[in-house]
């Protein structure tokens, strides 16, 4: 299963799981990155990092290092 940093820009899908058990994971979830939520990878910053995703109807900037912990299902 691919992670959020591996899918192409413009890609849509569903978040399937997040790896890890630390405070970072809780932060990601508070911001709405939760299993079963639809997402869209909107853009990336000039040097490819961070990524801009749409989740819960808003835009969130997330670095590739954190995106690599988010497993997604591409639709």
């Amino acid at each position: 299963m691919p992670t959020l940093d591996q899918v192409p820009i413009g890609c849509k899908g569903i978040i399937s799981s997040i790896r890890g058990e630390d405070a970072t994971v809780q932060r990601l979830m508070e911001m709405g990155i939760i299993e079963g939520e639809p997402f869209e990878l909107v853009a990336s910053a000039p040097m490819g990092d961070p990524l801009e995703i749409k989740v819960q109807g808003y835009r969130l900037s997330i670095r590739k290092s954190e995106a690599a912990r988010v497993f997604v299902q591409v639709s």
Binding site: I34, P50, E52, G57, S61, S65
Partner: protein, 713 residues
């Protein structure tokens, strides 16, 4: 600011909301300028308190800093939670909570509201940005939502003053009719374990606090509460966590999952969203503004226009202030007899204070730009664009905003580093923030660019040089951060998550409030620390006024009519003064930078606050007595010769003017910044470190600038 005189019994509400919801606008519109900043020892986060009267009911509002969640991970976030729950000994528990949520992004905004619902306090929900929601096809049935939640739900547009009366009515009504919010649903096992912890908390407890302790992974809150309430919580918490784990419940995700699921259940019947993908205004704008090429081009264009505007728009205003100052000076001179008092008032105090006030236009313009960029949503894009670069030097895009704020002043810049969660990132940002060119450096840039890099160059040239001077900070600060992060502050980086808010028209009241506050604090500093410094400098330049051979300089100057003789006496007097002696003593040190003793003196005198340098230059270049405006100082500097000897070459050329500007760009000549660093780091080590490394860096860079510049002459 007026002291707020609270009547015996006023209704107290705490205002909560996510960042970018218009919370500040609502607070300002409700309280007018009738607010003050609360002081809480140990934390220095700005928490404003304000009040208003509605239908003869006094309402007090506590403005809690914007946050996505009431899960504290730092002392500042803990203060917010304490204030909301009434755990802080300095504040009584609020009577109710007012939660403001962005209607165009309701689900995520309600996450914080679900936490507020568990505090045991009545809650009012205010929805902002309803027009933005409607524009993107989202329709919300407020009445249905209010019925579903059982609490008042009110649509507001604070800057257009819509919905405010309704909101105030609802607040007033709460005093008599408490409508409690619903409690978000968790699974039965979570509820029973939460109840166990709640039992331990006694009268300080709430469902929210008990749940927080249960879900928290790092133990920060438990530790803090055990200390503050002298309770033993950890064994019970660990036991409950183990019990839940053995039931197969994932404690990391259960809270967020349950809350979002509950929110969806509440909201879904009350909201209709368009099917499929809608390309909104923000999407179209972002396609350009975060574009790899156009986005970066636009970013630099904005930065360049900001500094050109500073230079062009502020100029006439500064001239008016300069004229006003000389009018006051002439007035004082005509009513006061010649002597020490007149010299103190006109040459010391008026020069000092006036020379600071004159830069107020630039501060207003700069803060105008920064707050417009912040309020329209562009600041977050700038952080998004710059994150990769900042990451290269070990920081995050979040460091970008504190560093950019330091362009106005390092004091708020250092305070703004509190948004950075990672301690090492934060410390590195604090250490390099004073390298950013603050508004107090502008006087030096403006004066020297005006004197030596304007005439004979194109109209665009001064703006470009000014841009490059600011560029020194923009380049050096990240490099220094990279150095610190790879040596003394080595460690793992923090997660970088940042909302990119929807673009909107900036609100006039927000922009105005920020300009007003920035100007006021600058003037307060100008009126106290800087004026005191100016008087001190005047004194060390005035005394001793009798030479070793017994000549009384002021009397001899007053006795002669010959201008040349007066100037010669004045220079001799100043060379002989305490500051002049020190300056000549350090001349061998500053000579390689292309400076004579007078520049050395002015630089030395500006270590407590660099704002004073222009005033000091006026004094050491003999303008203290009859300075008319900046223009006069500028001309004197252009004509100045080494040691005031007409046979010597001109004191300033392009390399020495640049070397002075570079020195001021990099040196830490600001007592206030050092004090704030002390306050934020809790030790004298870091301010001392900052002072030493910056002064050393400034000297070396100025030396290189002058010596390399000479090769091109």
């Amino acid at each position: 600011m007026n002291e707020i005189t609270a009547p015996l019994k006023s209704f107290r509400i705490a205002l909560l909301g996510n960042p970018n919801t218009g919370k500040t606008t609502l607070f300002n519109v409700l309280t007018g300028l009738n607010h003050r900043v609360g002081n809480y020892p140990g934390v220095t986060v700005e928490i404003k308190k304000g009040r208003f009267v509605h239908q003869s009911n006094a309402i007090e509002i506590l403005d809690i800093p914007g946050t996505y969640s009431l899960a504290p991970r730092s002392p500042d976030e803990l203060l917010s939670v304490e204030l909301v729950l009434g755990l802080n000994p300095l504040e009584k528990v609020p009577d109710a909570l007012l939660v403001i949520a962005d209607a165009s992004n309701l689900e995520r905004n309600l996450y914080l509201a679900t936490q507020a619902f568990e505090t045991g306090l009545p809650v009012i929900l205010a929805l902002s940005m309803v027009d933005l929601a409607n524009a993107s096809g989202v329709k919300i049935d407020f009445k249905a939502l209010s019925e579903k939640l059982g609490i008042p739900v009110i649509a507001i547009h604070a800057s257009k003053r819509k919905g405010l009366d309704e909101l105030k009515n609802a607040i007033v009504l709460l005093q008599t009719e408490k409508r409690m919010p619903p409690v978000p649903v968790f699974s039965q096992d979570v509820i029973s374990n939460r109840a166990k912890i709640l039992g331990l908390l006694g009268d300080k407890g709430s469902l929210f606090l008990a749940g927080r302790l249960l879900f928290e992974t790092d133990g920060f809150l438990a530790q803090q509460l055990e200390q503050k309430l002298s309770l033993s919580l950890t064994p019970a918490i660990l036991e409950s966590r183990e019990a839940l784990k053995s039931l197969g419940i994932n404690l990391v995700s259960i809270e967020a999952k349950s809350r979002y699921a509950w929110i969806r259940e509440m909201v879904q019947p009350c909201i209709s969203k368009p099917e499929g993908r809608v390309t909104g205004f923000t999407d179209r704008v972002d396609r350009i503004l975060t574009h790899k090429v156009f986005g970066m081009f636009f970013f630099f264009l904005i930065m360049f226009s900001m500094f050109t505007a500073l230079f062009v728009l502020a100029q006439p205003l500064m001239e008016w202030i300069g004229e006003g100052k000389s009018l006051v000076g002439q007035g004082l001179e005509s009513i006061l007899p010649d002597g020490m008092l007149r010299s103190l008032l006109v040459d010391g105090l008026l020069e000092g204070v006036g020379g600071v006030v004159v830069f107020l236009p630039q501060i207003v313009i700069l803060f105008g730009f920064l707050s417009v960029l912040e309020d329209c949503g562009y600041m977050a894009r700038a952080a998004f664009l710059m994150d990769r670069v900042m990451a290269k030097c070990g920081l995050s895009g979040k460091s970008f905003i504190p560093l950019l704020s330091s362009v106005a002043c390092a004091v708020p810049g250092v305070l703004a580093t509190r948004v950075i969660e990672d301690k090492r990132d934060r410390l590195a940002t604090i250490l390099v923030a004073p390298l950013m060119s603050c508004s107090a450096r502008l006087p030096v840039y403006v004066l020297f660019i005006g004197a030596f890099l304007t005439e004979g160059y194109g109209w665009w040239f001064p703006g470009l040089v000014l841009f490059l001077m600011y560029g020194i900070g923009f380049v050096t600060a990240p490099l220094a951060a990279m150095l610190f992060k790879s040596t003394i502050l080595k460690g793992k980086g923090a997660p970088f998550l940042m909302e990119l808010p929807v673009y909107k028209t900036p609100s006039f009241s927000v922009v105005f409030a920020r300009i007003y506050e920035a100007s006021l604090s600058f003037l307060k500093r100008a009126g106290t620390l800087i004026a005191a410094t100016m008087v001190l400098i005047w004194a060390v330049l005035y005394f001793p006024y009798i030479s070793s051979t017994g000549e009384n300089y002021p009397e001899r100057i007053a006795a002669t009519e010959n201008k040349a003789e007066q100037d010669a006496l004045l220079l001799e007097w100043k060379k002989n003064s305490y500051l002049g002696r020190t300056g000549r003593l350090i001349e061998p040190v500053v000579k390689p930078l292309g400076w004579d003793w007078r520049i050395g003196v002015a630089t030395l005198a500006s270590f407590p606050a660099r704002e004073v340098v222009v005033g000091t230059l006026s004094i050491v270049f003999g303008l203290g007595k009859d300075a008319e405006d900046e223009q006069q100082l500028l001309e004197i500097l252009q004509k100045a010769r080494w040691n005031d000897d007409p046979d010597q070459p001109l004191l300033f050329n392009v390399p020495s003017a640049l070397s002075l500007m570079v020195f001021f760009a990099l040196c830490c000549q600001c007592g206030s910044t050092l004090m704030v660093i002390r306050q934020e780091t809790g030790t004298w080590f870091w301010p001392a470190f900052t002072f030493i490394y910056m002064t050393g860096l400034a000297y070396i860079a100025a030396l290189l600038t002058f010596q390399v510049g000479l090769l091109f002459l």
